[in-house]
């Protein structure tokens, strides 16, 4: 009999505000340790938290984007535990009445359909500081710059039935939060971290005992950790044992999980209402205003790119990855309306590739949409061939010149004149009599050699289509 996997996910996502959740400290990543703290986020006595309005708006926006219910009145609670990176001795969170409840995320399925995965709630809370243990003997080091940074905790229903579904959900969510501009989502910086609740059962039976895999920040590790945990639990049950409900930590070096029993003992958070914060009230008008400002979401955008511009699902996917890319793409299409597919190819493959190599974001692209469109116009009217266009784009990355100026200066105008091309072909044939004889003797593959030689002799400027056509003609003899 087979086993069914049941997975629920909790995602901690950093809300990208300028300041912390409850004080006016900066949230800039990578500052000198403990330079972005104040009495509030250090938990000094008598300090009072005041909630950041943008953290509220962005959490509401996220809720609206997953079709959730927004609680116009929500509450804050204290979650109590001792750890050196939590200076107050409690975390301010929303336990009883979160700001967002319900909602869902649709993931693509293998058969081309969609599966709807429920979201239980999104609540607002604050992050802890950072503890460092590596290379230290009897002590740990604490940096509290992250203490009090606003988080959204996004809790799913136990709706996933495989590691792949869990990853698909996380990828959709990850794309969504970046698209909405509510989080940087940088997993290496811990801005998007995941806890996975995993259990197994016989199909149709009640849920089995679950374990919680804590604090993972890479899609690959999450998948490995879930798959490892499923095998571990099935082995325990098939050997006649029982799964213990516990937190486990994924060790990505050893590719195995281990129990965090030490943490288990202290798992008594004694939640109670946060006396320092009255209820958070938002008006329906405010919620409506946030909804009105919501951008077109990735799923809708992907579909529109496919139908409106005739893009492949792959290209549509790449160009709807972030709002920035989609906006850039549409301004490129506006400037080069003749061929939206060409725009897609050149943005997705050529420009983004070059930017990645240079370690730059699209926002810092030295080539504007207008300048790239100028280049694509010349590809479109056959002034230059694809090879030259790529070289020109390389030049444009380094200079402010537009395509026409570079074509002129470098003499890259494509040669489409039959006479000129024939002259080059005849020269190449005269210089390679053995290959000509070979080709005529049936070695068709030599065509590639001749095309290469002719392109080289024309310094890349010959129209490749015409070269192929004229070569076939002249080689016949």
């Amino acid at each position: 009999m087979s086993w069914e996997t049941v997975i629920g996910l909790e995602v901690h996502c950093q809300v990208n505000t300028d300041t912390k959740a409850f004080c006016g400290c900066s949230t800039v990543f990578g500052a000198e340790p403990n330079t972005q703290t104040c009495p509030v986020c250090l938990g000094m006595p008598g300090q009072l938290p005041v909630l950041n309005t943008v953290a509220v708006d962005k959490t509401i926006l996220t809720g609206l984007a997953i079709n959730a219910h927004i609680n116009l009145e929500s509450k804050f609670d204290r979650k109590n535990y001792f750890y050196p990176d939590l200076p107050k001795g409690y975390q301010i969170t929303q336990f009883t009445v979160p700001i967002v409840e319900g909602g869902y995320i649709d993931i693509p399925t293998k058969d081309g359909g969609e599966k709807r995965l429920g979201v239980t709630r999104i609540h607002m809370e604050e992050d802890a500081g950072k503890s460092m243990h590596e290379g230290l003997d009897a002590v740990s080091h604490i940096d509290l710059n992250r203490s009090g940074v606003p988080l959204m905790e996004i809790v799913s229903e136990p709706d996933m039935r495989s590691a792949d579904e869990a990853i698909a959900y996380l990828k959709q969510l990850h794309q969504l939060i970046r698209f909405l501009g509510v989080s940087g989502g940088d997993m290496e910086k811990g801005q998007f971290r995941c806890d996975a609740n995993v259990s197994v059962r016989r199909p149709g039976e009640p849920f089995g005992t679950r374990t919680e895999m804590k604090n993972m920040n890479s899609f690959r590790f999450i998948k490995q950790a879930i798959e490892f945990e499923v095998v571990r639990q099935i082995e325990i049950i098939e050997d006649g044992g029982e799964v213990i409900q516990e937190s486990r930590l994924w060790d990505s070096v050893k590719s195995e999980s281990r129990s965090m029993r030490s943490k288990e003992e202290a798992h008594d958070y004694r939640y109670f209402p946060e006396p320092d914060l009255p209820p958070l009230r938002v008006s329906q008008q405010e919620v409506d205003a946030i909804k009105a400002g919501m951008p077109e979401l990735p799923g809708e955008l992907r579909k529109r790119f496919e139908t409106e511009y005739g893009l492949s699902s792959y290209d549509a996917d790449v160009l709807s990855q972030t709002r920035e890319i989609s906006v850039w793409y549409e301004s490129l299409v506006a400037a080069h309306p003749a061929d939206p597919k060409r725009c897609a190819n050149w943005l997705a493959n050529e420009l983004l590739g070059r930017l990645k190599e240079a370690g730059k974001d699209l926002a810092d692209s030295p080539v504007s949409a207008k300048r790239l469109a100028g280049l694509l116009d010349r590809v479109g009217d056959n002034t230059i061939n694809g090879k030259s266009a790529k070289d020109i784009l390389d030049d444009m990355m380094e200079s402010d010149d537009d395509a026409d100026a570079i074509i002129e200066a470098k003499g890259l105008k494509q040669v489409s004149d039959t006479g000129a091309i024939d002259t080059i072909i005849l020269e190449v044939m005269a210089a390679n009599p053995d290959q000509v004889a070979g080709y005529r003797g049936g070695k068709d593959k030599l065509m590639g050699f001749f095309v290469g030689q002719v392109m080289k002799a024309s310094r890349g400027k010959a129209n490749p289509g015409m070269v192929n056509q004229r070569l076939a003609e002249l080689l016949k003899g």
Binding site: V50, N52, A138
Partner: protein, 92 residues
Amino acid sequence: MDIDVKKVAMLSRIRLTDDEAAELGPQLANIIGYVEQLSKVDTDGIEPTAHPHDAAMPLRANIVTNGNRRDDLQASSPKIESGLYVVPKVIE
């Protein structure tokens, strides 16, 4: 009302001797028992009180108002190294 005094003390990071725990147990049970009377009140149809002040929460603008005051803020810390707080080793 039975209270695991040792556990409560551990959660609060308070060190208690067995004698102290034995003494505190009945006292805590008394307090809880007294407050427990509230559970007899019929609260059906009564909206839970979230906060004694019936005020909505004021919000803060998303503007940095605090600069780097590390030296002042760390002045009362027992041990600092390279700007980091030094604490007894904590490990998962």
